[in-house]
Amino acid sequence: MTPRLPRAIDQGLANCHVCGKVTPVVAHRCPRCGAGLHLRKPASLKRTVALLLAAAALYLPANMLPVMTISEIGNVMASTILQGMVEFWRREAYPIAIVIFVASIMIPIVKIVALVWLCAAASGKVHPSPRILGRIYWFTELLGRWSMVDIFVVSILVALVQFGAYMTVAPGPGALAFAGVVVLTMFAAMSFDPRLLWDRLEILEASKTPQPTPNRE
């Protein structure tokens, strides 16, 4: 086994989340930037799970309710995100249809599931490798923002398509729910502390090593 590398927490040192300076946590405030010091993000799992529950609750209305309504010569047509995607597919604009499917439908749900799984791993309910989990975490943080694309499309269409009685576009109730999903999952990813995954591994290895004859289950 590789020799155990020292962690900051073992020496009571906190890694400032704003400026990256490593100082004793007893100082409470970072001497360099003034941010509050914590060994781990406070109430990380509780906050993450609460934000994820809120995001999951909004996911259905975000996809069922229309994100915009198009009024065309007296005809009012509501459009959900899924309908927008299907419309592109029917017009054989496959790349755009795929972009919308990935950004608006797949990423939010994958992000919620991935973060729930990360929380389960950090609280010791499942035991995958932190390295793989880390990659998943990095991915969710990187991709989350791109889900916002559909909200921007609504804002652009609302601003551009204003032709009085001939054709207008107005935002729908689904847009608020959808923006809520994106923002809440972004906050959830930010409040999750990946170091908890490694702490769990540490506990697991510590419980394994002292036994001279390991009892394999």
Binding site: A8, C19, S155
Partner: protein
């Protein structure tokens, strides 16, 4: 020792040990100089601890200044013009947010304004304010607070996502009307590149080390 001396790196604050902890797995390391253009990685999990960016201050200052100028151009010139049935409508960042607010979607309207106008402005203005004076070794008054805000604003700067939104909208509108790209659109594309270059220009640890040295 001889090789380390030839490495150009940023000045370190006074005091002997400069520990860095991996933000990902909390493993402690001693911060050592790395050659320009390379990164120091965590011994345990392999995540990047810090990077030594070449010409970091100059690049970040230049690109954030360029980004600020481009922001002015984006907001002064038409972004996209659409013509249908003799009626012309124009798109601008302000209009995209304002029309939503006028249609009753206050929250989303302010979100869009925050993601496409406020966050990029804070990022570009803040980087210029902090890095510009640092070029001459000074810390601007309140630079510490501004640098803290940079970190908060970064994830909410979504100009590249907005540009994807413009492309998707173009596909949606394509057959419906005549669309013209304005100077603002090309400025916006350039703005995206400059912002990315400015953000990638300097490592967070370097920025804060330099601020600490300048304040000493």
């Amino acid at each position: 020792m001889k090789r380390e001396a030839s490495i150009t790196t940023w000045p370190k604050p006074a005091g002997a040990p400069h520990p860095v902890a991996c933000h990902f797995c909390d493993t402690l390391h001693e911060a050592t100089a790395v050659p320009e253009g390379t990164a120091a990685r965590c011994k345990r999990c392999g995540v990047v601890l810090y990077q030594n960016r070449p010409a970091s201050l100059v690049r970040t200052t230049a690109f954030s200044l360029a980004a600020l100028i481009l922001m002015g151009i984006v907001n002064m010139f038409p972004f996209l013009t659409m013509e249908a049935n003799g009626i012309k409508t124009e798109l601008s960042l302000f209009r995209a947010a304002r029309e939503l607010i006028r249609e009753g979607s206050m929250t989303i309207g302010w979100c869009v304004a925050g993601f496409t106008i406020v966050a990029p402005l804070v990022m570009a203005g803040g980087m210029l304010y902090v890095c510009g004076p640092l070029l001459r070794g000074h810390a601007a008054p309140g630079a510490r607070h501004v640098a803290r805000w940079l970190g908060h604003a970064e994830p909410w700067n979504m100009i590249e996502v907005f540009l994807l939104g413009v492309l998707v909208s173009l596909m949606k509108l394509g057959k419906m009307a005549d669309l013209y790209f304005g100077v603002g659109f090309w400025a916006f594309a350039a703005l995206m590149v400059c912002m990315a270059a400015a953000v990638a220009g300097i490592d967070r640890n370097e920025l804060w080390d330099r601020l600490e040295v300048a304040a000493e």
